[in-house]
Symmetry: C2
Subunit: 341 residues, 2 copies
DNA sequence: GTTAGCACTCGCTTGCTTCAAGTGCTAACA
DNA sequence: TGTTAGCACTTGAAGCAAGCGAGTGCTAAC
């Protein structure tokens, strides 16, 4: 694409992101000093429309960016302004929270993101946690129930009340506990599975009955149905976006944000995978009802392994550059906070 | 109030709750068979308007109930239809969830309420829990941190990672644990405080240094800042209420529902106290921004002591009777579920 | 005390006009 | 050949008047 076309596209997108109103040739010529007249801009805009980068809501209106236009902008034109000191400060503060109360920590993190971006935020953490197993404790509650506590190397604690397969004395339970610790200390949290434990326990030649009990315990604790925990924040901000004055659109956005399983699916589908960050724009969104939205999702890592993802959901008219800068910083800080311990 | 006036008021409120549109004299005469003509109804309506039970949006419209009208309705006219079997079934199912995972249980409970009412739901549980202390465990994580686990008689488990006042060996910690259990087993959860523990520990003549440590532990665990936990659900339903098509109203409702501390305050102020249930209507609402809303809040009890509250937030044009029936049932079932253990 | 009748009020809808923004085309210009 | 000025044209939004209809309040008769 010729340089001037890029400049025109850039001007249109910047202006539209700022004002949420169709941009005319006159406005481009006036505000963004390209050294040419509105008529020339009009010609460029006509070309850009033909190529699908911008659209006309109706004949007598200016142009608005299309999904393709945003995509080009994000890939080629966008600047990534560094965070301002006070913003960096807010990120730091959220990160200084107590990691052992992970739920509160993540909720707080979402609140911080929404405060800084004015968009909705979504975070996912794997239920099993990450890092490696540091300790396992089995605490008898009564004859038929016990509390399993797994301490991860990240400092995060998982706990779950489980039903015992049969009456087990505290002494027996403690023997099971010792065997489990021996077998699993140092293992990767995410790799701790029914199968792994089966293998390990056989290796350590636990007696058959006890092994079966331990397996059952662990399976209950790590049951896959609760494989991801979802947090959201700042949905209210959506009400203030001029493109979401339409109640129907709001309904579909809010019902998505209230449905954890749909959010799970969404986050999985837009996951950046090995990369740190991914941007999904409008029609690229993999679920219905939020085709007018964009997402910026970042992964964070513990020991080089993906530990979770966190993102923002906003209108396609999103301040991409700023949001990307923020999410990159946050993901980096999150990785650091969890690695450190 | 004369019988016929009551009938007219009842008819107007019922109709307005059902259709969300001003009710005219003709409609009342036609749909609700009072055996008199529209003209007579008009006279009654004129009186009711004068007395402030109903209002006219403008001259040529019908009447809508005022807050005073709703209040009279709720106190004198309202019927409380029993739950339908399938509704009762849904309540039962939500109550059959795992109480030890109290957060999930309450979230699920809120979801059920919102599904049945189509209003937003709010629940508060005291962080300290209720019932009495059944067991306390201190688990060393490292030299400077330990995990405190408190098992309540309700079957609910509280846990918290605390920073130790100084390096304590596992043996020492276990001595502290034994002393704490001895001192506190059977005590009321809500009464477990710094002061009580101080007294108890002295009685049991723990050595000074260890007592100080134990006190510090417990104080951290029961720190008052986290005194109530709030859950919400079904905010999306508000978007479908015809009276909340106005974005500004929605904003104030949603921002309230996102602010846990404001919800805490709200629930405290509308608390039924000793009674099971309270209804707060429109202008009676104690916080700004939800003066167009009503709330039905119910308490549930463990051993005759208030254990928490749960309620719905909807438009003043709420189906009060139905909602009251539902909330009474739920509060009853909640009390039962927590008492049983 | 109740009712029929009727004039009156007032918001909502419809259709019309006007306005302003912005385009696309053409012809002139450098 | 690329750029620009000029201008006719399109179209949604805003403003306005007329007509409609739901509903009222009053009066007089029952």
């Amino acid at each position: 694409m010729e340089e001037r076309k890029k400049q025109v596209l850039n001007a249109i997108i910047k202006d539209y992101i700022a004002n949420a109103e169709p941009v005319g040739s006159r406005a481009v010529a006036k505000k963004y000093d390209l050294g040419v007249s509105p008529a020339t801009i009009r010609n460029e805009m006509s070309d850009l429309t033909e190529d699908g980068y911008i659209e006309q809501p109706h004949t007598s209106a200016g142009r608005i960016p299309s999904a393709k236009g945003y995509r080009f902008y994000v890939d080629n034109l966008m600047e990534r302004p560094p965070l301002r000191p006070e913003e960096r400060q807010q990120v730091r503060q959220a990160m200084s929270g107590d990691l052992t109360e992970l739920d509160d920590f993540m909720r707080n993190c979402c609140a911080m993101i929404s405060r800084l971006t004015n968009y909705a935020s979504i975070a996912a953490i794997p239920e099993r946690g990450h890092g490696s197993v540091e300790n396992i404790q089995l605490i008898p509650l009564n004859e038929r129930q016990a509390l399993v506590i797994i301490l991860a190397s990240t400092g995060i604690i998982r706990h779950k009340v489980i039903d015992l397969p049969g009456p087990i004395s505290p002494a027996q339970l403690s023997a099971v506990e010792r065997a489990m610790v021996k077998a699993l200390r140092g293992a990767e949290m995410r790799s701790v599975s029914y199968e792994l434990l089966d293998e390990l326990l056989r290796k350590y030649q636990m007696q058959e009955a006890m092994a079966a009990q331990a397996l059952d315990l662990l399976e209950q604790t790590l049951r896959p149905e609760s494989s991801t925990r979802i947090f959201t924040g700042g949905a209210t901000h959506m009400l203030s976006q001029p493109e979401f004055q339409d109640l129907e659109k709001l309904k579909s956005i809010f019902s998505l944000l209230e449905a954890d399983n749909k959010l799970k699916e969404l986050l999985e589908k837009v996951d950046p995978g090995k990369r740190t960050l991914t941007i999904t724009i409008g029609g690229e969104m993999p679920v219905e009802g939020v085709k007018d939205c964009s997402m910026v999702v970042a992964n964070y890592f513990v020991n080089g392994e993906k530990a979770g993802s966190i993102g923002v959901l906003g209108p396609t008219r999103m301040r991409y550059g700023r949001t990307v800068s923020l999410m990159e910083t946050i993901a980096g800080e999150l990785s650091r906070a969890m690695d450190e311990k």
